[in-house]
């Protein structure tokens, strides 16, 4: 049995005091797993990632990372515990160059910063070519790769990705998924929030379906794809 890297029990959180968007979420991500979260617009998928990342206060339930309780820790402290996060929007620093974006990811690390950059540039050669350009000038797909690189450079144990394929061309989407699977092969667990439910469920080990701030279904990707309720509610239109 692989050990849990992130464990969330009965998590409640929201943007305004007394108004919880998430109402008791349970979730486990184990070593080396790819987990995907699907659900309709406004279900609270992004909110869940923000709550885990300490960007909004957790008002109920607990968050464990590698067995330690870290409920309501600050974002910059959670990063040091081995989490990497790529937000859904605004996931690069537009006025900084590509290289500077990566260096920001290295803020917590003092040693081996050259090494870290080199590895990212090897993984994404396009970033190396454009390293002196402003991130604001990149195409959507390149931005997404840079955001991945920035999150990866701290060598996290788990990577939380919020709709990394949104708004990208089919070719760019394939490239992003290919990168995610390479990252996973290196031993990084992945928590993937996706609009494209079918693709996400085919890609992942296990999936969670979120609806109105609650877990509604969970199981292996295969089971969810075949579950008539899930098909009816979330896959039918695809």
């Amino acid at each position: 049995m692989n050990k849990a890297i992130i464990e969330v029990n009965g998590l409640a959180a929201g943007y305004v005091k007394g108004l919880n968007i998430l109402q008791g979420i349970d979730l486990v991500i184990k070593e080396n797993e790819i987990i995907s979260i699907i659900g309709p617009n406004g279900a609270g998928k992004s909110t869940l990632l923000k709550a885990i990342m300490g960007l909004i206060p957790i008002s109920g339930g607990r968050l464990y990372i590698s067995g330690n309780e870290l409920t309501n820790f600050k974002s910059h402290e959670l990063i040091k515990k081995g989490i990497g996060y790529v937000p859904q929007v605004a996931n690069v620093f537009p006025s900084l160059t590509i290289e500077e974006n990566l260096e920001i990811g290295l803020w917590t690390k003092t040693k081996n910063s050259k090494e870290g950059k080199k590895e990212i540039f090897e993984m994404f050669p396009i970033l190396s070519e454009k390293k002196r350009e402003k991130a604001g000038n990149l195409s959507g797909g390149q931005r997404q790769l840079l955001a991945l690189g920035r999150a990866l450079i701290t060598k996290p144990d788990v990577l939380l990705l919020d709709e990394p394929s949104a708004g990208l061309s089919p070719i760019a989407i394939d490239e992003v998924f290919k990168s995610i699977s390479e990252i996973n092969n290196k031993g990084v667990s992945i928590l993937l929030v996706e609009q494209n439910a079918k693709r996400a469920l085919t890609f992942c080990d296990r999936g969670y379906v979120l609806d109105q701030g609650k877990n509604s279904y969970t199981g292996t990707g295969r089971d969810l794809l075949d579950d008539p309720n899930v098909i009816d509610l979330y896959l039918g239109k695809l």
């Binding site: 937000p87 006025s95 920001i104």
Partner: protein, 305 residues
């Protein structure tokens, strides 16, 4: 107009440095700080207090007679104290406000209140009369056709060096880079491992020290007054907006242009006897440019919001 060139360079430099400090603070904290002028004045007033001879009586209250320290030592001490003051503002006032999610307008009104409060504290302690530092008087000389005193030239050189150092700091140091990152998005900076609160505090310190420095050189060139920061604040806002809010280089450039134009317009013939109106022309020009380019000269479109 040419006889105003020297003064134009000096005012341009002052407004440029002040605009950089104001726009950096705005970029990182999103606070439109009306009290920035008072931090400028604080630098000048403190330097006056440290450097004036103990017998001079510019201070309102007898208990606080000046210290008579050397001008350089006084300036350095004042700049450090301005930094400390900025840190206190962040820790005791603006951080608690931020944690309670006060709206931008509420914070804006608070900075206006703070500005009025501080200005009148200066009035209480330092009297309403303009005062000068205990520096010897110098005659203007001709430098490449520009009329300046030797001390003015020193100010121009030191000011330019400071500006270059600020540029290098923001571009090449780890902390400068983190400030720019928080300016782009404090949330993304936090989830990249940066303690945004720490960077915001450093920005307050850095920006306030720069403001204090501006006040000192403004005091050298003109004189020290209780409301000197308030009088120049409008030009600083104009400079930052003209260059494009949120870009340090833009603020530097915009501030310089505004300061220069304000001073040069004094030399226009119809301004004879109306030098008080010197802000009019520069600000009219600012409005005109912003009508054509709302994002400012160097600003990018995505930043206007």
């Amino acid at each position: 107009m040419i006889e105003q060139l020297g003064n134009g360079l000096l005012l341009g430099l002052i407004v440029a440095i002040a605009s950089v400090s104001l726009s950096l603070l705005y970029g990182v904290t999103r606070i439109v700080n009306f009290a920035h002028g008072e931090i400028i004045a604080l630098g000048a007033v403190l330097t006056l207090f440290f450097s004036s001879s103990p017998e001079s009586s510019f201070l309102y209250l007898d208990r606080f007679s000046p210290l008579g320290s050397s001008f350089i030592v006084s300036s350095i001490a004042s700049i450090l104290l301005c930094g400390l003051f900025g840190a206190l503002l962040e820790l005791c006032l603006f951080r608690p406000l931020r944690k309670n999610n006060y709206g931008n307008v509420a914070v804006l009104v608070i900075t206006i209140g703070l500005s009025i409060f501080l200005r009148h504290i200066f009035l209480l302690f330092a009297s309403a009369k303009p005062a000068s530092y205990a520096l010897d008087l110098q005659k203007r000389e001709d430098y490449f056709g520009i009329q300046l005193t030797p001390r003015n030239v020193q100010v121009l050189i030191i000011g330019s060096v400071v500006m270059i150092l600020v540029g290098l700091f923001l571009t090449y140091t780890k902390t400068g880079r983190a400030m720019r990152a928080v300016r782009d998005s404090s949330e993304l900076a936090s989830v990249s491992g940066i303690n945004s609160d720490y960077i915001i505090t450093l920005t307050w310190i850095f920006s306030s020290m720069l403001a204090g420095f501006t006040g000192i050189i403004q005091g050298v060139i003109n004189n020290v007054r209780w409301n000197m920061g308030f009088l120049i604040l409008l030009l600083i806002f104009a400079g930052s907006i003209l260059g494009g809010i949120g870009t340090s280089f833009g603020a530097m450039f915009g501030g310089f242009i505004i300061g220069m134009l304000v001073q040069l317009s004094v030399g226009l013939s119809f301004m004879d006897g109306h030098t008080e109106a010197k802000n009019a022309i520069a600000l009219a020009l600012m409005i005109l440019i912003l009508l054509i380019r709302p994002q400012g000269i160097f600003g990018s479109k995505e930043r206007i919001s």
